[in-house]
Amino acid sequence: MSDRVFITGAGIISSIGFTYEEVVSSLESSRSGIGRLMHIDSVYKDEIPFAEVNASNNELKELAQVPGSGIFSRTSLLGLIAARQALAHSGTENITEYRTGLISATTVGGMDRTEKFFSKFLKDKNHGRLRDVITHDMGDSTEKIAEACGIRDYVTTISTACSSSANAILLGSRLIENRMLDRALVGGADALTLFTINGFNSLMILDRNGCRPFDNDRNGLTLGEGAAYLVLESEEVINKTGKKAIGTVAGYGNACDAFHQTASSPDGNGAFISMNKAFMKSGITPDKIDYINAHGTGTKNNDLSEGKAVERLFAGSVPPISSTKSFTGHTLGAAGAIEAVFSIMAIERQCIWPNPGFKTRMSELGFAPVTELNREMSVRNVLSNSFGFGGNNTSLIFSKC
């Protein structure tokens, strides 16, 4: 028998808002963050839309409350802002009072600074500032957050592509259930970089018109950036502190699609297994799911694969489903956590978020995503999917408490 895992705080920064409240407001008014690239000098800035956080690194430094002279990658700045917000939201005053861990995820790490160094260094080995490289490691943003928040009991970094921060939530939950931690700050951060812009463009999966998840004419994803963290606490801590929880992590599942390094299997086998595992773990049956926040990147491959798996699992009776990537773009390593926060927001506000940009149902599927904000439904249980390259598939179930 495992202990229950409560969520007491959530922090988020993305292209649709710098705070929890701003983000909710954008979701409620269908205000997408997809637009022109402003803070990176890419050859594609006039050609391809992105979902950028509308702030320069200096502005992010101020928001993150770090010294202007400090050396921070954009990823760690985004992470610091969201992590601090989550802790403040949870009302945690004394972090050392209970065993607290930090599990942070990222895929680009400090690449935003490193790529600036490398292009100079390649031309002339006497050029390039080494201070641009010292923030490169994946663990750097994790350590910066741990230090800023005073977390020492358990600190680790997960990197499993687009499922990274969902896996951070999974691990944090498990550690609390097994009484190895009392509290965990879990989530992830990823900044936009030339590295990923060019990489995804070379795979020809960036939609020049902005992503249209689950649309029959969809043509790729939109890259985004951001960060989000949840504060997870054990039942014992909740009882002792009298804190109010905003939800629970009811279940989780992770599986490997084992089909291709980057493409998903046509029948969504890995997705089916991870969702099924989440159901088994939570004891919740598919008919009790009120809303699915899909991975829904807008690529031809993912949406078909995920769609097929969802249809199979829900035996034709698919609950309201949407992909919020048409708001925030695909935030890579941060996606799992950002969408976990959207799932919590759905429970808190009793809302089903829409899927802007959708026009035509996919010919292969029997369902269409939600297109309008829906406040009429009772939202008790939300399923959130995050599927990464390498076939790493994670599904999380959040419940009202």
Partner: protein, 212 residues
């Protein structure tokens, strides 16, 4: 942990040699990883053309898993989704990141390589091993400064205790240039196996990791 587990096999690739369960399997004089990997691939006798497309991190992990699982016939004992795979390293995919970065560093000679880009994630090695051995269970990839036997023990124990896996592959897969090291362990429930190398516990994990 609730039920005891056993390390039923291990593979060490380090200092230009490959060892399986304490037996020297392959040795090479070369200090170059590509030559070492090609040599070990040929020695293994497998035919898997996709191997040559992998980046070095995947080649290393793939070869270590190939040796680890060679005589195990896991599919006989376990369903695909009962086998988990938990790996870690300290450099993530940095080795490949560097190669990819070269393809986009010069604005006048600008050819981002999709085949290199898809390997700029450390967990793709898990994907490659799963594709090869038809493993559909839980996978995770951790970035830590050093190999940490206690971390491995705690994490994997939870997987077994909570019935997330019936069998698990775990270990360290690290490469940077021509410095490479991989130590993989196969963990099974003690009740489900007749043979074993050692009990699954932190001191044994550490001891095997350190064996030369």
């Amino acid at each position: 942990m609730k039920e005891s587990c056993t390390i039923t096999s291990y593979c060490t690739i380090r200092d230009n040699i490959a060892i399986h369960d304490g037996r020297l399997l392959f040795e090479s004089k070369t200090k170059n990883f590509n030559e070492f990997a090609s040599g070990l691939y040929r020695h293994s006798g497998i035919s898997y053309p996709k191997f040559h497309k992998m980046d070095n991190l995947c080649k290393l992990g793939f070869l270590a898993a190939e040796i680890l699982l060679k005589e195990k016939n896991l599919s006989y004992k376990y369903a695909g989704d009962e086998i988990g795979i938990i790996l870690m390293n300290s450099s993530s995919s940095l080795d490949t990141d560097r190669n990819y970065q070269k393809t986009i560093s010069n604005r006048t000679d600008y050819f981002p390589s999709p085949a290199v880009f898809v390997y700029t994630l450390p967990n793709v090695v898990i994907g490659e091993i799963c594709i090869r051995h038809k493993i559909f269970g839980e996978g995770n990839f951790f970035i830590t400064e050093k190999f940490n036997p206690s971390f491995v023990f705690n994490y994997i124990s939870q997987l077994f205790d909570n019935d997330f896996v019936e069998c698990c592959i775990t270990g360290w897969v690290e490469i940077s240039g021509n410095n490479f090291e991989s130590v993989l362990f196969l963990i099974e429930k003690t009740g489900k196996t007749e043979t074993g190398i050692a009990n699954f516990e932190p001191s044994e994990i550490e001891s095997i990791y350190n064996r030369k």
